[in-house]
Amino acid sequence: MLTLECPYCGVMADETELTAGGEAHLKRFGPGSSDEDFEAYLFERENPKGVHFERWRHSHGCGKWFHAARNTMTLEVYGTYPAQTSEPPVEIRNKISGIAPGWSWRLFK
C-alpha cells in the first residue's frame, strides 16, 4: 500500500485517500504548437521501472494537488512537494542520488 505525505495537510495519506494524476511536470502544447509537440504532449509518457515523478491529489482530504517522487519498482517514496513546482526540486534529486545512484528521468539525473 502506497502512503504519501500530503504537503498541505502534513498527514500521511493512504493511497485510497488520494487520486493519481499521472506524470508530473508536463509542458503543455496547445494551439499553435507543432503536430509533433502536440502529439508528444498528449500521448508520450515515461514508463520507468524505478524513479518516477507523479502528480497526486488529496481528493478525500484537503483537495489539493501535489507532486510525489517515488520508485515504481520498490514503492519507496523519496518525497512529496507542492504543485506550484515546475521541475523536481534539487533537494529531492539529491536525496534520490544518495539512495539510487545513476537514476535518470527525462532530462534529470
Partner: protein, 188 residues
C-alpha cells in the same frame, strides 16, 4: 414557510458506540490567506477564536473553527446565527481577497461517542487514529469507506464528524455497521 430539517432528523443508534446525527448546524466556508491580519481579525471577531494552525479545530461555546486546507476554514455556529455571521464576515473582510459562504445545508454532522469510538471510526477510515497521533483539538479530512468526511475529537471518547448531506444516509449506515453490537475490536 417550511421548517429546515437536517438530513436524518437527529437519528440515533446505540451499539458499541453511540452514533447521532446532531441536527442543523450553521457552517460557513471561509477561503482566503490565513496569514492575513484582516482574516485573522475577522475570525476572532466573528467566530471568537484565534486562527487555527494546520489541522487544528478550535471550539468555543457558540461554535468553532475547523482547518480544512491552507486556504480554507469551516466556521461552525448555531444554525439561526449563520446569516448574521456571514454578513459580519463580509463586512469585516470588505476589500480583502476572501470568500465567506453559508454552506450550512451542504453537510450533515454526526457525533460518535463512547470508549470504542476510535475503533469504530478506524474500521471505516485509513487515517491513523491512535491517541499518540490524533486527539482533541485536531481535525482530519479523510475517507469513510467510499465517501469523504472530516472528523475531530470533542474529548478523548467523542468524535464530531461531517460529510456531504447527499451521503448522510450512507454514512449513518456505515457507522451503524461499524458500531454494531458484538463487533468490538479492542485495539485502542
Amino acid at each position: 414557510m417550511s421548517e429546515p430539517t437536517s438530513a436524518l432528523n437527529r437519528a440515533e443508534f446505540k451499539g458499541i458506540a453511540k452514533v447521532e446525527e446532531t441536527g442543523l448546524h450553521g457552517m460557513i466556508t471561509l477561503r482566503g490567506d490565513q496569514s492575513s491580519a484582516a482574516i485573522k481579525k475577522a475570525v476572532l471577531s466573528v467566530a471568537g477564536t484565534v486562527m487555527p494552525e494546520q489541522r487544528e479545530a478550535i471550539f468555543s461555546d457558540t461554535g468553532g473553527v475547523v482547518w480544512m486546507s491552507p486556504d480554507e476554514l469551516m466556521l461552525l455556529c448555531p444554525y439561526s446565527e449563520v446569516e448574521a455571521r456571514v454578513a459580519a464576515l463580509n463586512e469585516a473582510l470588505a476589500g480583502t481577497h476572501a470568500l465567506a459562504v453559508n454552506v450550512s445545508d451542504a453537510r450533515t454532522v454526526f457525533r460518535v461517542s463512547g470508549p470504542a469510538a476510535r475503533d469504530v471510526l478506524s474500521k471505516l477510515t485509513p487515517a491513523d487514529l491512535s491517541p499518540e497521533v490524533f486527539g482533541p483539538g485536531q481535525v482530519r479530512r479523510s475517507r469513510l469507506a467510499q465517501v469523504s468526511a472530516a472528523f475531530w475529537m470533542e474529548d478523548d471518547e467523542t468524535f464530531g464528524l461531517f460529510c456531504f448531506r447527499s451521503v448522510a444516509q450512507y454514512a449513518f449506515d456505515l457507522l451503524k455497521v461499524a458500531a454494531a453490537e458484538g463487533s468490538e475490536v479492542g485495539y485502542f
